[in-house]
């Protein structure tokens, strides 16, 4: 816990990370997926492990099964599929709102890396449904500075459900 008045990183870096996350959210909500892909490093690891219900104190995050277990190639394939105009899961597209908050930044493994945690509240609505899906998660990210800009090198998504309340994961978190 930082002493009062001090952050693990400079205010400038902290704000730059927030800008990155908000820009990323806007790209996802705007269906600008190619631009989103460009924010990822070539060696991106993007995972959402399965969670189970365990007694307090026991680990409830699986290391053996995932809802997403992606690298750059598999993410490219997913996005290419959505561009085919035949991907009915997102055609018509969902209306989403990625609400990012509670951003915490720590120095990363190297001078060009940062460990970032953020909360996500993802609203999802389809068609004429007056209701919506609400997905809550915490993201554990590694950001890396590449050619002067921050990019996402690693994301592990801890979804706050053991039984997902959305019909599919045709959207990204």
């Amino acid at each position: 816990m930082p002493e009062s008045g001090a952050r693990p990183v400079s205010t400038e870096v902290y704000l730059a990370v927030c800008d990155f996350l908000y820009e990323e959210a806007a790209l996802l909500d705007g269906n600008r997926l190619d631009e989103w892909l460009a924010l990822l490093t070539d060696d991106i690891v993007y995972q959402m492990p399965v969670r189970v219900t365990r007694e307090r104190g026991a680990s409830d995050v699986s290391h053996d099964m995932y809802y997403f277990d992606e690298n750059h190639a598999t993410l490219r394939t997913r996005i290419a599929r959505l561009h085919t105009d035949l991907a009915w899961a997102e055609d018509p597209p969902s209306r989403t709102r990625h609400c990012v908050s509670n951003v915490r930044v720590q120095p990363g493994a190297g001078p060009d890396e940062l460990e970032v945690r953020s909360y996500l509240l993802l609203y999802r609505n389809r068609g004429d449904d007056p209701g919506h899906d609400l997905l809550s998660a915490e993201r554990h990210d590694v950001l890396r500075r590449v050619d002067g800009a921050w990019r996402l090198a690693r994301r592990s998504i801890l979804l706050d459900q053991a039984n997902l309340g959305t019909r599919n994961l045709a959207i990204f978190l």
């Binding site: 399965v50 189970v52 219900t53 365990r54 007694e55 026991a58 699986s62 290391h63 053996d64 099964m65 995932y66 809802y67 997403f68 277990d69 598999t74 394939t77 997913r78 290419a80 599929r81 085919t84 035949l86 991907a87 009915w88 899961a89 997102e90 053991a162 039984n163 997902l164 309340g165 959305t166 019909r167 599919n168 994961l169 045709a170």
Partner: protein, 453 residues
């Protein structure tokens, strides 16, 4: 006539599988759903877990049979038991975790303690509370009847009906290709998600529907992930009895399994099964009522074609909701690289984010929503289940069941609803003879209620 009697008459009159006529109301009618819970899920053999999920004594997982919570427990004696996760005192849920290892289960309400066999072993302040009026040895968590087939653990509340072996019948030969081509194990916990669809639509889709892949999953051909021949109808449509069935897509480009596994397959399968396995392009099937199996088309992973194998349960959660559990199954003795590649292929193609599966939920959600809206129309929307009606089966297929050339057929859907209707219209009117409950033997009248043939 009672409302229930009227509904049964309506089903008898309007559900005509032999003619390929299924009225849309059955998808979501609430009273039909109640009948399904009573007459299918309260009686059938239901899949609950794979043996590899509870390998050690004390291991347990909590699952459901229909909507009822059960504990699937490997006791300290190594025996697998399935028992209602309901305390005998006040119907509190005893075990509230999804999985774990425990020698006993303690109810959080009054502290009643049950061994992992289900036997009541501890009652707090027993002498003060009950004197000598409570005989713990006569009380245990209600036990289901349990049998296993090739690592698949099934349970039923019908203690007097046919065995699992009889129930599976001809489907066993085909299940071997999926779950017994070697010793198999489950990777990790199941994916779990809830979809606004009746459980019947995915069960029916997996038992019978190869026809939809060309259009529902058309994006895949456009990406060259599946060749257009992958959507073709080369293969077989197998009706395996008891509502079970499957479709097998066939290719002749060589086995989609790595050579290092072939020797194992040859040990576990018959020569006829082995030949079919090496020709499999994809395989989709359902064990009635709600266990499906899938070997999907192989996709490139790290430069080679890999296929994952998946099991799933379509758990009824109301007339218009289904909770899906999806497992990834791999050969236990395969190299780690194959297991990792299989898991990658599985997550990529099927399950919650699966690019081969995402589009299905759009269909099922809309069909369900529409069926509900159609209820006031009565019986005038009868759906066309007539594909392949009257087509003659093959005479010389090496596997059992009724086998048709070509994958485009709806015979399995007709057979699914034939069995479904038979269950709903069963002559007996009460629950099947259940095991003796808590020291009190079942009433004599219940013993006369037997499950029909």
């Amino acid at each position: 006539m009672s409302e229930r009697g009227q509904l049964l008459e309506r089903l008898r009159a309007t559900v005509r599988p032999e003619e390929g006529c299924i009225p849309a109301f059955v998808y979501t009618h609430p009273a039909v759903y109640a009948l399904e819970l009573e007459r299918i899920f309260q009686r059938s053999w239901l899949f609950v877990a794979h043996e590899s999920e509870i390998p050690a004594p004390g291991d347990y997982v909590t699952r459901h049979m229909g909507e009822q919570p059960v504990i699937v427990s490997r006791g300290e004696d190594g025996v697998v038991r399935v028992m209602l996760n309901v305390c005998r005192h006040r119907a509190m849920q005893v075990v509230r975790a999804d999985c774990g290892n425990a020698a006993h289960f303690r109810c959080p309400y009054h502290g009643f303690t049950y061994a992992s066999t289900g036997q009541l072993t501890g009652v707090p302040f027993q002498a003060d509370a009950y004197g000598d009026t409570l005989d713990r040895s006569q009380i245990r968590l209600l036990q289901a009847r349990v049998e296993r087939y090739r690592g698949l653990i099934f349970a039923t509340w019908d203690h007097e009906g046919e065995s699992l072996d009889e129930y599976l019948g001809a489907m066993k030969w085909y299940l071997d290709l999926v779950v017994a081509r070697g010793e198999m194990e489950i990777l990790g916990p199941p994916q779990r998600w809830t979809v606004p669809s009746t459980w019947k639509l995915p069960a029916e889709n997996f038992v019978s529907d190869a026809y939809h892949t060309a259009y529902t999953h058309a994006s895949l051909a456009k990406l060259d992930l599946v060749s257009s021949t992958g959507f073709g109808q080369a293969g077989y449509h197998v009706t395996a009895g008891h509502g079970h069935g499957l479709g097998i897509g066939i290719q002749h480009d060589g086995s989609q399994y790595p050579p290092e596994l072939h020797a194992t397959f040859a040990r576990y399968l018959s020569p006829d099964q082995l030949r079919i396995l090496h020709q499999v392009k994809n395989l989709h099937g359902t064990v009635f009522p709600n266990l499906s199996v899938l070997i999907p088309s192989a996709v490139p992973v790290d430069g080679r074609l890999v296929s994952g194998t998946t099991l799933r349960l379509w758990q009824p959660r109301g007339p218009n909701r289904v909770e899906i559990l999806s497992w990834c199954l791999v050969e236990k003795d395969a190299p780690d690289s194959w297991k990792a590649a299989s898991r990658t292929a599985y997550v990529q193609t099927f399950g919650t984010s699966g690019i081969f599966e995402q589009d299905d939920t759009e269909n099922w959600e809309a069909q369900t929503r529409i069926s509900e809206a159609l209820q006031p129309r009565g019986d005038d929307l009868v759906l066309n289940y007539r594909m392949g009606l009257g087509r003659p089966p093959l005479a010389d297929f090496p596997g059992p069941g009724v086998v048709y050339e070509g994958k485009f057929n709806e015979a399995n859907a007709r057979a699914f609803y034939r069995e479904w209707l038979r269950c709903l219209l069963a002559d007996d009117t009460g629950p099947p003879a259940s095991e003796a409950a808590g020291g009190v033997t079942a009433p004599a009248a219940a013993a006369g209620r037997r499950r029909g043939p």
